[in-house]
C-alpha cells in the first residue's frame, strides 16, 4: 500500500506510480461529524491542484472538497452515494473519494504522517 500524504486542509492522497487515491482524513471526519451526503464530480474531469471538486455535507455543516493533487478523475467511489457514513467509519479505506491519473509532479507542501499530526494537534488545542 502506498504511503499516505496529507494537506493542511485535511485531505489525504496515496500515490501508486501515476495513480492517486484521495479522501479526507480521520481528523476531518471526526470534526465534521456524521456525513450525510457528498456531491461528487464525474469520471474524466480534470482537476487542478487545490481545485474545489465537490461538497461534503455533515450533520453540522457543508464543506468544500479540495483536490490535494492535479489529475484526471478515473474513478469515483459510488458506494458513498448510498453509504456516506463510510467516510466516518473507514476514512482511509472504504471511505476513499476519488482516484486520479496524476498530472505533473506532486505538490511540495504535502505533509507526512508526523507533519500532519502536528497540524491536527494545533487545530485541536
Amino acid at each position: 500500500m502506498a504511503e499516505r500524504r496529507y494537506t493542511k486542509t485535511h485531505e489525504w492522497v496515496a500515490v501508486d506510480g501515476k495513480r492517486a487515491t484521495i479522501g479526507i482524513t480521520d481528523f476531518a471526519q471526526s470534526q465534521l461529524g456524521d456525513v450525510v451526503f457528498l456531491e461528487l464530480p464525474s469520471v474524466g474531469r480534470k482537476l487542478a491542484e487545490r481545485e474545489t471538486f465537490g461538497v461534503i455535507e455533515s450533520v453540522k455543516a457543508a464543506s468544500d472538497l479540495y483536490a490535494p493533487v492535479a489529475g484526471r478523475i478515473t474513478e469515483v467511489n459510488d458506494k458513498l452515494s448510498a453509504k456516506p457514513e463510510l467516510i466516518n467509519s473507514d476514512p482511509y479505506g472504504e471511505g476513499w473519494i476519488l482516484k486520479l491519473d496524476l498530472a505533473g509532479d506532486l505538490p511540495s507542501d504535502l505533509l507526512d504522517e508526523a507533519g500532519y499530526k502536528k497540524v491536527t494537534e494545533e487545530a485541536a488545542s
Binding site: 451526503f37 456531491e39 455535507e57 450533520v59 457543508a62
Partner: protein, 354 residues
C-alpha cells in the same frame, strides 16, 4: 466537544446516527445539566409566577409540570421553560444560554415575599428518553404513578432523584434532578443497566435531531425576543383569560389582527440540508427564512422549520430553499415530522380529563 451556552458539551458520544436511533427505538441518556434551574419560594410565589408566564400555573397541582413562555412587554419570547409545582413552591427549568438573563428578569419583577434561588450548580439534570425508558430505568419509584408532565421522588440506582416525566425528544421518558455530586453515579448505573438492551449516551446532535422531528422549538433558532407565541405556533401555551401577565396586552392585539408570520415544517430532498438563516421563497418571491434544519437519520430525509409570512405556505405546497448557493425544492408538511411514544401518554391524559 462544543461550546453551548458557556458549557462544554459533546456533539456526540459515538455517532449522532446511532444515538438518534437509540432514542427512537430503545432509550438514550442525555446530560442536560447545563440547563438553568431556579427555585421560587415565599407566600407571593404563586401570584408572581402567574404574572410572569403565559400558561395558567394556577391550574397546576402539586407534582405537576407545565410548558411555559416568558414574554417581554411587546409579546416577544424572552425564553421558554418548564414550571414545576411542589408543596414548597415552584421550580423552573430554563435554557442554558438564557439562565443569567432569566434570573435577572425574574428578580427585577419579584416582590419582597418571593425568594428566588439559582440551583443550577447544586443539581445535575439528566434525561432518559425513549419508548423503553420506563422499562429500562433502574428505579425504586412506581413510575406508572407519574403521568406525562407529572413528577415525583424516588431512588434511581440507589441515588435520590426528583423524577419528572418530561423531555425534549417526543419520546416517553424522564428528566432526573439529582445532587451534582451523585449524578455521575446515577448516569453510569443507568447506562450499565441498559447497555445490553441498546441504551446509549446521547449528545447534542441527537438532541437537536429528535427535538426537531418532534417540532419542539429551540429558543434562539425558532424563536427569540422578536417572535411572539402565535408566530411560533405556541398559542396553546397562552391563556389570555387567566388574568394579567407580562406581554398580555401585546398578545391580545396580535390575536385580534392575526400573526404576521408562521412557523412551517419543510421536507427536503436527500442531501439538501437547509441551514439556519437560509432564504425560503415561493415562485421566486422570498417569504421567509429557515430557523432550524438537519438531516433526519431516522426519517431518511432532511427536515427544517421555517418562519414565513402568514398564509404564504400551506401543507402540501412547494417552496424553494437556498442550499449551497442554489434553490433546493422543499415540500410543506404537517408538524410534527414524527410522533414518538410521548404522544400516546398525552392522548391518554387528554382522554382521562374528558
Amino acid at each position: 466537544m462544543v461550546d453551548f451556552g458557556g458549557w462544554e458539551m459533546p456533539q456526540q458520544y459515538t455517532s449522532i446516527r446511532d444515538e438518534h436511533f437509540a432514542v427512537r427505538q430503545v432509550a438514550g441518556l442525555f446530560d442536560v445539566s447545563h440547563m438553568g434551574r431556579f427555585r421560587f419560594g415565599g407566600a407571593g410565589a404563586p401570584d408572581f409566577i402567574q404574572k410572569m408566564v403565559t400558561n395558567d400555573v394556577a391550574s397546576l397541582g402539586h407534582g405537576q409540570a407545565q410548558y411555559n413562555l416568558l414574554l417581554n412587554d411587546e409579546g416577544g419570547i424572552v425564553d421558554d421553560l418548564v414550571v414545576y409545582r411542589g408543596s414548597e413552591g415552584f421550580f423552573a427549568v430554563v435554557n442554558a444560554s438564557n439562565r443569567e438573563k432569566d434570573l435577572a428578569w425574574f428578580r427585577e419583577y419579584a416582590p419582597k415575599d418571593v425568594e428566588i434561588e439559582d440551583r443550577t450548580f447544586e443539581l445535575g439534570l439528566i434525561a432518559f428518553q425513549g419508548p423503553r425508558a420506563q422499562e429500562l430505568l433502574p428505579c425504586s419509584a412506581d413510575l406508572d404513578s407519574i403521568p406525562y408532565f407529572g413528577w415525583g421522588h424516588g431512588d434511581v440506582a440507589g441515588v435520590h432523584a426528583l423524577i419528572s416525566r418530561t423531555g425534549y425528544t417526543g419520546e416517553d421518558g424522564f428528566e432526573l434532578f439529582i445532587a451534582a455530586d451523585k449524578v455521575g453515579e446515577a448516569w453510569d448505573a443507568i447506562l450499565d443497566h441498559g447497555r445490553s438492551a441498546g441504551v446509549l449516551p446521547a449528545g447534542l446532535g441527537a438532541r437537536d435531531a429528535t427535538r426537531l422531528e418532534a417540532a419542539l422549538r429551540l429558543w434562539g433558532n425558532d424563536m427569540d425576543e422578536t417572535v411572539n407565541p402565535y408566530e411560533a405556533g405556541l398559542g396553546w401555551t397562552v391563556k389570555l383569560g387567566k388574568g394579567d401577565f407580562i406581554g398580555r396586552s401585546a398578545l391580545e392585539k396580535v390575536k385580534a389582527e392575526g400573526p404576521r408570520r408562521q412557523l412551517v415544517g419543510l421536507k427536503m430532498q436527500p442531501g439538501d440540508i437547509a441551514r439556519h438563516g437560509a432564504g425560503v421563497s415561493v415562485g421566486g418571491r422570498r417569504v421567509g427564512v429557515i430557523t432550524s434544519g438537519t438531516h433526519s437519520f431516522f426519517l431518511g430525509f432532511p427536515i427544517a422549520l421555517a418562519m414565513v409570512e402568514a398564509r404564504s405556505l400551506q401543507v402540501g405546497d412547494r417552496a424553494a430553499v437556498e442550499v449551497r448557493g442554489r434553490e433546493a425544492p422543499a415540500e410543506v408538511v404537517k408538524l410534527p415530522f414524527y410522533r414518538g411514544s410521548a404522544r400516546s401518554l398525552s392522548d391518554k391524559k387528554e382522554s382521562r380529563h374528558g
